[in-house]
């Protein structure tokens, strides 16, 4: 019983030969420990997620949003997971798996720093050596998370090449892994990369939809009309969708970063957005065939989003497949709308959401109040994939730049006596 390496035509294992034995070893471990619960691996994982991670996370009715949008809105509170984002589900699963496999060293890449932080945290908790690769641009915009990784005793290696974001960090981590495959496991942070990563990461994240499905039936007495989650690589997305995929009546909406525009700057090889699921073309990157931001030659474009965690030129192959099948609806919202949603949730519900999650919330505003008002239905679940403390520097700067009305003014407190 081997797990499929593809979702339709997407997925696969496009990596240097030096990594293939490690990937075969990992596939074997995935099938035994994750799928077959050998040695009670999944039981231990669940127990540790409960005790260390703080699961289950609540499904909270958002009273003011419900009123504003004239429908029932529920928030899945992954921001309350230990570490402040859904990323721990996967990091804990993979670091534990690496221990079962006898690996001594963990490497990981990070964009927003949430995955790096979660991995560093899991490594400290499970006592494994940890090295994190992070683009220089991301280091500069996510300093609190860099410090958190260091607090957990992880080494943080800056990546200077290219735009210094997630894509470059992934390349660098692959290189490290290729050099040290024998004792090292690469904890990929989303449902991307070669098989078995997309399936395995999804399985670890599926706890989100397992809980949400139960919780919404308990609280609302039925399944939701739609489930909304932001999509960078797509791990919180598939985690939030997975248990609903079989429920035909439930619409699954993946919200990507529309950045500053949906155009492409061919000259500079740059896309001022990260909407690979809604605008990308089929191609091969980082070990998988999927939808990518690329030029007609196949060169990968630099992506952009105000949110570091969504700033990636690819997307998980399973999402690409489900989007083609019409099961997942890809949409996108821009930087400005995400920033407004950030302030709105902070003000109206007492929750400071991650800028990534703010994209999902911004779509709610657009869909519920705009022309497409009926598409969401009467009962909506939105995943709040993480909390926004890490984004405060960015939000202050970006709100200033835009003179955002929604942003609180700090003027009276400045230069005071």
């Amino acid at each position: 019983m081997s797990s499929e390496s593809k979702f339709g035509e997407y997925g696969g294992q496009y990596v240097p030969e030096a990594l293939m034995p490690a990937i075969e070893e990992l596939t074997d471990a995935y099938e035994r420990y994750v799928l077959d619960n050998e040695e009670g691996f999944m039981d231990e994982f669940r127990e540790r997620l409960r005790d260390f991670g703080g699961r289950p996370t609540p499904l909270q009715r958002a009273d003011r949003l419900s009123e504003r949008y004239d429908r029932e809105v529920y928030l899945k509170r992954e921001d309350l997971l230990h570490g402040g984002a859904h990323k721990l589900n996967n990091a804990l699963g993979q670091v534990l798996l690496a221990k079962y496999m006898g690996k001594e060293r963990i490497v990981a890449e990070t964009g927003a720093g949430q995955h790096g932080t979660a991995t560093a945290m899991a490594c400290a908790y499970l006592d494994v050596d940890c090295e994190i690769y992070m683009g220089r641009t991301d280091i500069n915009r996510q300093r609190p998370n860099v410090f958190r990784m260091r607090l957990h005793d992880a080494a943080v290696n800056p990546v200077d090449i290219g735009s210094g974001t997630l894509k470059e960090a992934i390349n660098e981590t692959m290189r490290d892994w290729a050099t040290n495959v024998e004792d090292t496991h690469y904890v990929i942070g989303s449902i991307v990369g070669p098989h078995p990563f997309p399936r395995m990461v999804r399985d670890f994240q599926s706890v989100i939809s397992e809980e949400a499905r139960e919780q919404i039936r308990e609280k609302a007495g039925r399944l939701p009309d739609s489930v909304v989650a932001c999509a960078g690589g797509g791990s919180n997305t598939m985690g939030t969708f997975h248990e609903f995929v079989g429920d035909e009546s439930v619409d699954l909406v993946a919200v990507e970063a529309g950045g500053s525009a949906l155009t492409i700057d061919e000259e500079n090889g740059l896309a001022p957005h990260s909407a690979s699921l809604s605008t990308g073309e089929d191609g091969v990157l980082h070990g998988a065939r999927t939808k990518l931001l690329q030029n007609p030659d196949g060169q990968i474009l630099e992506s952009h989003s105000v949110s570091a965690g969504l700033d990636y030129s690819g997307v998980g192959p399973e999402l690409a497949y489900l989007a083609d099948e019409g099961r997942v609806t890809p949409v996108n919202v821009g930087d400005d709308a995400a920033l407004e949603a950030f302030h709105r949730l902070s003000k109206t519900e007492g929750i400071i959401p991650a800028l990534e999650s703010s994209h999902a919330l911004a779509y709610l505003e657009e869909a519920a109040l705009g022309d497409t008002r009926d598409e969401l239905g009467d009962l909506v679940v939105v995943n709040v994939s993480g909390r926004g403390d890490k984004d405060l520097d960015t939000v202050i700067e970006e709100s200033d730049k835009r003179d955002l009305d929604a942003a609180p003014s700090m003027e009276v407190f400045e230069h005071g006596e």
Binding site: E9, P16, E17, A18, A22, N180, V181, K291, D324
Partner: protein, 287 residues
């Protein structure tokens, strides 16, 4: 089943030299390739730059960056190959990543693209056809393991190109078998784990891999980390039929001083090392 590439290994240990096409520009690349051939290069590996070269170390990664910044594209690459083909008579091998092969639609056919990704219009065939027309003799794709290689293999067979596979120190015997079933031209023996880049010693992994390939009748060339005459000698003495050198040349290109002369001298040095190694091969004791 002779191929032009295979023939290049027939008489003496071969020097396979890599440069990134378009680093720092297409005209220079032609000059450098001519210099490498003057220095004794038997096969030229011409890198077609991809923006995400995950198998390369920093040296080649930067070369690829320079070439992309200077505007290298697959179509310009094929033009360059066609021009080189008229000037040098050693086989040219294309080294690139799968996305470029997969995306290529032919120079005028871009309008015929369709975005759904469902049709057979995407795939390696147009790339291989254009490569064959330009005069490429073989292809190496470091991010395409044997398990995903069937479509490319078919296209290569249809157009008479060799598909060259990389054998890593970690490659299992089972995978090695699958590779050898499909390989042609030569076997690329990755001398050590990790990425490309010049090193100062020869890894034990190299010797282990060569031992495992002893029975294989395809020529075996070792790459990753070779930069000096002594490495070349030791590797050939260890049973290799050739050496593959990239970063040591690319380092010279990066300096941009007397580049052609230095490339020629470096090639000559490495080729001599390989020849020295061949005379050192202990005579088989049997019979």
């Amino acid at each position: 089943m002779g191929s032009e590439i295979r023939d290049a290994f027939a008489d003496e240990p071969a020097l396979v030299s890599y440069v990134a096409a378009g680093d720092p520009d297409a005209e220079s690349t032609k000059e450098y390739v001519r210099a490498l051939v003057r220095g004794g290069t038997d096969v030229v590996e011409l890198g077609l730059p991809f923006s995400e070269p995950i198998a390369e170390g920093p040296t080649i990664q930067q070369a690829i960056r320079r070439a992309l910044d200077a505007g290298m594209t697959p179509d310009r690459y094929f033009d360059l190959v066609a021009e080189l083909r008229d000037e040098v008579d050693v086989p040219l091998v294309c080294m690139t990543y799968y996305n470029l092969i997969y995306q290529y639609e032919g120079s005028e056919a871009q309008s015929a693209s369709n975005a759904s990704g469902e049709t057979a219009s995407e795939g390696p065939e147009p790339f291989v056809e254009a490569a064959a027309e330009a005069g490429i003799s073989g292809i190496i794709v470091p991010d395409l393991p044997v398990d995903e290689s069937d479509p490319l293999k078919e296209a290569c067979e249809a157009h008479g190109l060799d598909l060259i596979f990389i054998v890593a120190p970690t490659t299992t015997d089972e995978r090695l078998g699958r590779m050898l079933d499909r390989a042609s031209g030569f076997v690329y023996v990755q001398g050590r784990l990790g990425t490309t880049g010049a090193r100062s010693d020869v890894s034990d992994d190299t010797h282990g891999s060569l031992d495992r390939l002893a029975e294989t009748d395809l020529p075996k060339a070792v790459g990753f980390g070779i930069s000096e005459r002594d490495h070349a000698r030791e590797i050939v003495a260890g049973g290799a039929d050739g050496i593959i050198v990239g970063s040591a040349f690319v380092d010279i290109v990066a300096e941009q001083e007397e580049t052609a002369d230095l490339l020629e001298a470096k090639a000559r040095e490495l080729k001599r090392g390989a020849l020295d190694g061949a005379t050192e091969v202990p005579e088989p004791e049997s019979k």
